[in-house]
Structure formats: C-alpha cells, structure tokens
Symmetry: C2
Subunit: 354 residues, 2 copies
C-alpha cells in the first residue's frame, strides 16, 4: 500500500477559499515534486545521500508552495525540543533585564528558542515551572524566585536541566551560577573604608534576597576588625522595595538627620542606590561623595549615566549569559551529569560616588 493513501481523497472539485486554511505539509511538497515524503524530509534536513537533481527540485517546490517544517511535529518523533524555558518575574529590575537580553541572544545563537514564563506570584512558581514541562522544554533558566525543592525531582526524572542564576540553590539536581557576591561585599567595604568615613550602612530590601544578604554579610565581616576597635559604626538599613522608589523613600527617612546618619553606604543593588542618591541630593541637599559616599552593585546602564556616575561592583551580564548557556548545552548533550556551582568574578568600577 502506497503512502499516498494517507492523504484523504479530496474529491476533484476545487472549493474556493479552502486552501486558506490548509497548512502545507511535506506530503504536499512530495506529491508536487513527484517524490516520497522521506525524500522531502531528507532534502530539507541536509541529508548527503540525495541526488543534486532531486534536491534542487524539492527545494524549489517547497519554496513555491511556501512550505515550512513543522517543528512541533518534528519534536514529537525526535523527542527533542529546542525550546528553553526562561523563568522571570517582571521586567522591572534593570540588571535582570540586561541579563535576559544577553541570554535571549545567546540562546538563539545556539539554535534554541526562549519560552518566557513570568511568575509574579512566588507561590505559583512551582506550578508555573510545571507548565514548562508540558512544552517539553530542553532546559530551564530561573532568574527569579527560588523554585520549591519538590519540582526538582520532576525535572530530574525527565532529564531536563535547570540552571539557577543569582539565586539560592536549594533545588535538587540544579546547577547554580552566581556572581561573586562575597568578593563584591569585601571590595565595597575596602573602598568605603578608604574614604575615611566612619558611619557605615548597608541598604537592602526588607526581608532581603539571597544575593543581597550574602553581599551585606560579607560587607559587615570585612568591617569587623574596625568595628571591634570602635573606629567606625555600622547600621543596617532597610527599604520597602528593591528599586528606585524603595531607595528614595528609605533615604528620606534615615538621612533626615545627616549629622548622625550613616555616611558610607553600600546598597544591595544599583537601582536602590540611584534612588538614594536622588533623595540625598535633590531632596536633602547633600553633596556626593563629600557628605555621603555610596557604592552600588551590578553596574547597570543607568549607573554610568552623567546624572549618577555611580561607583559600583560590576558583574557582566554578557558573561553570565554565556556561562548559563554553556552549562545548559553541556547538560542537554549529556556531557555533565553532576550539579555544579559556578562563580562569576566581579570587579569594582570607580566613578564619582565614593
């Protein structure tokens, strides 16, 4: 029995307009070019063992008919998909956006496609990641929140690699990539100590984040000897949201009495620092860095703008993205089977705020 019979007999008439709905399949191309579906498939996937004559004929027919491989169908029988899940939460955090930008590019260049999942509600993170499983993603990158440990087993079972970027790594079987928060905290402390200021502070969002907490703790450890000798003081500072407004509003409060307020402040992330700077300069009339020295973390684009010129700990979004995709590909190929924890080096970018 020939395969042609698979194609439902359409009768003979040409119903006008029907073709508008009809999707061109490899069978259509095969029939039109007078070959089998196998041949069409082989031509378009670059199989060597095909005659130049038929290859050209098939190519031409495919173009003429407007045929495009159905990747959905293809991935059904190869049981591989080139979709990669990207878990994020909003696009309001500037550094995360810069990272996603580079990540999307890197993913595409590797022949994969990013499927974005936005988890506004952290509680829904688990179910959201399960959704990704329904799409047979080849891998997942988590850039926000921390997935509940019980999802790990589902991804492990399916051999779907998960990479956590700048997150706490409590997920079983997942790789973790972080920038060097420890070294960053130390560098911030060292730099601020050099300013000669004596009232230190660390500004972070209420409750803290994984990265922020590490940065703050290391910062304080580094100050410890001087704190012990009584040279300097330290005050933990808190803002309501981890963004510009959070830094702005918090600064209005804790800088209200500049004589006693901290004057050497390390911020958990740049965006908070920018809010702090604006509140200090424009609302409270303080001079930077004479009255207050400020150090941020991330080195987002806005940090180098003329209005801010923020001194900050720089982590490279590009390198972070490259590391992420490299690791993902190793896992997908099956090269690497054991979890890994990678650290991206950071460096201090000195501008005008400290």
């Amino acid at each position: 029995m020939t395969e042609g019979k698979h194609t439902p007999a359409k009768g003979d008439g040409a119903e006008p307009g029907r073709d508008l709905q009809h999707i061109v399949t490899s069978a259509d191309v095969a029939r039109e070019a007078g070959v089998s579906r196998s041949t069409v498939s082989r031509c378009l996937s670059g199989d060597r063992r095909i005659s130049e004559a038929t290859r050209l004929r098939v190519q031409e027919t495919a173009n003429r008919l407007g045929y495009h491989v159905n990747k959905i169908a293809r991935s059904m029988n190869t049981r591989k998909s080139d979709l990669i899940g990207l878990v994020t939460s909003g696009l309001s955090d500037p550094f995360r956006v810069e990272f996603l930008d580079k990540l999307i590019l890197a993913i595409q260049q590797s022949g994969y496609r990013p499927l974005v999942i936005d988890v506004s509600d952290p509680a829904q993170m688990g179910t959201s990641m399960m959704h990704l499983l329904q799409y047979q993603v080849a891998g997942v990158v988590v850039t926000s929140g921390s997935p509940p440990p019980e999802v790990g087993v589902h991804f492990l079972k399916r051999n779907v690699p998960v990479v956590l970027v700048n997150r706490a790594g409590r997920l079983e079987g997942a790789d973790v990539i972080n920038c060097d928060n420890v070294r960053g905290g130390e560098m911030a402390a060292d730099l601020l100590l050099e300013t000669g200021k004596t009232r230190f502070g660390f500004l972070n969002v209420k409750g803290g984040t994984f990265s922020g907490n590490v940065r703050g703790e290391t910062f304080v450890s580094r100050l410890a000897p001087r704190l012990a000798s009584g040279d300097i003081s330290f005050t933990p500072l808190v803002c309501d949201s981890a963004d510009y407004d959070g830094g702005f509003n918090a600064a209005l409060k804790f800088l209200a009495t500049p004589e006693t307020a901290p004057n050497a402040i390390f911020c958990a992330k740049d965006h908070i620092a920018l809010g702090l700077l604006d509140a200090a300069r424009f609302e409270l009339g303080l001079r930077i860095p004479e009255d207050i020295a400020v150090v941020g973390f991330d080195d987002i684009a806005a940090a180098r703008q003329g209005a801010y010129q923020l001194t900050t700990v720089c982590q490279s979004a590009t390198k972070l993205a490259e590391m992420t995709v490299d690791r993902l590909r190793q896992r997908i190929r099956g090269d690497a089977l054991t979890d890994q924890r990678l650290i991206l080096p950071v460096e201090m970018t000195c501008r005008r705020t400290a």
Copy 2:
C-alpha cells in the same frame, strides 16, 4: 485487539535507571488506572461526561505518576498552539521593555505563552518571522522593525494574525496599533510655545523611525503659524543612536553655543531626552528649564525619577498591551477578519523640564 498492545513489550526485568529517561504518557496513566487513554484525556481536559469516581481515580494516578499533558502532542492533533510569537530587537529601549513586560503578563493571563524572537539584524527580520511559523504560533506581535511585505502572505495563508505595535503598517493583512503620535506632537508644541522660548528644536535619531518621524512632523506643523510670522525659529536636531548616549553626545555639540542653540527642545523619546538633560546640566552647566525647556515622549519609569522629573507625553504601556492582546484574541477566535488600525490616546505629563 486491545490498546495495551501499543505499549512495546519491555520484557520482564527492571533495568535500573531506565525509568529516568522514560516520559510518563497518558497511556501509562490509563494502564495504571485501568481505563483507556480516551478517558484519561477527557478527565484532564475537564470533560463533563465522566463519572466522578473514575475522574478522581485518574487524577490521583496522574499525580502519583507525575504525568503532565504533552502540549506539543496535543497541538498536533488540535492543530492549535497556544504559543504567541514576540518579535523584538534587544531589551535596551526602556519603553519597549515596559511594554513587553505588560504584554507577557497579558498573554499569559489569556492562557497563551510568549515565544520571544530577537532580531538584532533588521535584514533578517523576514526569515526570523518565518521561524515562528515553524512553531505553529497562534499569533505574532511585532514590536520592532518593520517586516518585509512579502511575509504577510505567508501568515495570511495560515490564518496567523500579526499585530504591529508602534510600527509602520505596510504589512498586508496585519493589524496596526499605535499611540497617538500626532496628538503627542501637537501637545508638545503647545506646551513649549507656552514657555515663551523662541528657538525650537526636534531631536531624533539619524534617519528617523516611524513613530519619531510622525511626532516630529506634527510638532513642526503645529509651530507653522508662528514660524511663518517669524516669531520663532526651528532647527531639526539629529543624534547617532536613539538612546541616552545618543542624546548626550548630540547635546554636547548642538548646545556648544547656548546663545544661539535651540532652547525649546522636543525629543522623539524619553531616553534621548535624559541624555540631553545630563549633558546640558552636568557638562555645560545649563539650567533646566530656565535656559532650556525639554519635552520627551513615552513617560518611561526613569522620567519620573528625582534626577530628571521629565515633562513628557505619556503613553500607557499597560493599555497598549491590553489592546494588543484583545485584538490578537479576536483574530484567533476568527471574530475579526479585516485589518484594523487602532490608536491609543496620549496625555501630557507636566513635571519640571518645561
């Protein structure tokens, strides 16, 4: 012949580790629950005509086995996908990022999933959009560049709706959604005229963009009567890139001689205006708005920050996203068959730069 035979006989032994690779299918659930695949399918797609007893049993078995519907396979059969293509070019333009943020959220809430395509090279836009066809996307949103007209026919043929947002609408069969660039240009002109300044300018990226050009042309038209009477002058201003650095560098040049340079400037978009402001204030020592009045367009988050307080034409990213998804859904449902051109109203947000 019973369906069970579909499952390949695995022999009897339990090879350790093999299950790690095996994906749980509806057949597995069916066998385990003692029902047919059809029943499993119906249970999990919420079919009413199923007994409560079996429904519960199937649900439980599915959970226990860790079964997740394979949406890829489902969409093969239903010939519908819930993927929506998002065409963008980088995540460096702040307003576009804000729009994408809201768009991704709106798409998810409608039960669809965003598949992101980044087209850095405008020349590759056509082929990139064709890639989306391979994934059987239900619709496409274009937020960057202008697709070559010939792609229109491919999407039309497949009944895949395309929505162009803030783009030139030359694509056959596509819907177009724009903010009210015309009204925006007028409002900017009116506001700057009220300042009493006399030397007007419009700052845009070299070559211009669709939106920018419309804004600028309307701006000039509105100034026309006063230009004719000789009260005021107008100078077209150009920057190399449509971002902060572009505005910054351009301003350094054309503001070099402040006595004759334009002192009432409308910028094609906020980010350019921010660069201009910083160059004027910090590099050239000019006062805003006393020496120079500036109006932007978009009302991005940074525009309301204390450092800038930019007066600007506001378009709502949220509303734009809602309009986009609404239109997309109408098209996918097949309600709307004829192209449409929608306009999002804008309003002036007065802060401190004009």
